[in-house]
């Protein structure tokens, strides 16, 4: 019953909030790691990375 990533990505590109949330959740461990600098979690950086993720959803061309 699991929908695949491409479906989520397509819907997220179209602006569907739930799909965007699902992708953020999927990648949050990655973002969390990147936002941890000198073993400290930097919340401002994490927010910047979420914005980057949203931009990537818009700009990524899956063709």
């Amino acid at each position: 019953m699991n929908r695949n990533f491409i479906d989520f990505l397509k819907e997220a590109k179209a602006g569907d909030d739930q799909s965007i949330q699902a992708i953020i959740q999927l990648y949050s461990p990655l973002l969390f790691n990147v936002a941890t600098v000198d073993q400290r979690f930097d919340e401002d950086l994490y927010q910047e990375l979420v914005i980057t993720l949203l931009a990537c959803i818009k700009t990524f061309d899956p063709s």
Binding site: I6, L30, T52, F60
Partner: protein, 136 residues
């Protein structure tokens, strides 16, 4: 949604992950470079901050015949009034009442990092407005 278990059907997801990794590393580098730059500036400003507004704003010696201390005090007060409410409160607590950032954070309920950001932004704004008024 499942984490990527691999395999050819997940080719698009792998591509997206790589695409995202490049972008987030770039964001991280840019963010850290900017933060480093701001920290350096803040250390520069903070060295003077406990000596009140004159030093804080980097005011140089000026000609007494052109502008009096009183005029300057009124100008600073007027510029301070133009700041947003939270910035004004933080600047007053910091400069006039000599609180530390963590104390201000506790008083205002704003996070420590935000207090610092708001404070330094306000000081930069005051500086540039003083520059415009040719007090230097």
């Amino acid at each position: 949604m499942e984490r990527n278990p691999g395999g050819p059907e997940f080719r698009i997801q792998n591509q997206f992950t790589k695409y995202l990794q490049v972008a987030v590393i770039r964001t991280r580098n840019r963010y850290l470079a900017k933060k480093q730059w701001l920290d350096n500036r803040e250390m520069f400003y903070d060295a003077d901050s406990r000596n009140g507004f004159d030093d804080l704003l980097g005011r140089k010696q000026y000609d007494d015949s052109l502008i009096t201390e009183l005029e300057l005090a009124f100008t600073v007060a007027a510029l301070l009034e133009q700041l947003p409410e939270n910035a004004r409160t933080i600047v007053r607590l910091r400069v006039y009442q000599r609180y530390d950032f963590d104390e201000i954070a506790a008083i205002t309920g704003i996070s420590y990092v935000n207090v610092r950001n708001i404070y330094y932004r306000a000081i930069r704004r005051l500086r540039s407005q003083m520059d415009e008024q040719e007090f230097y």
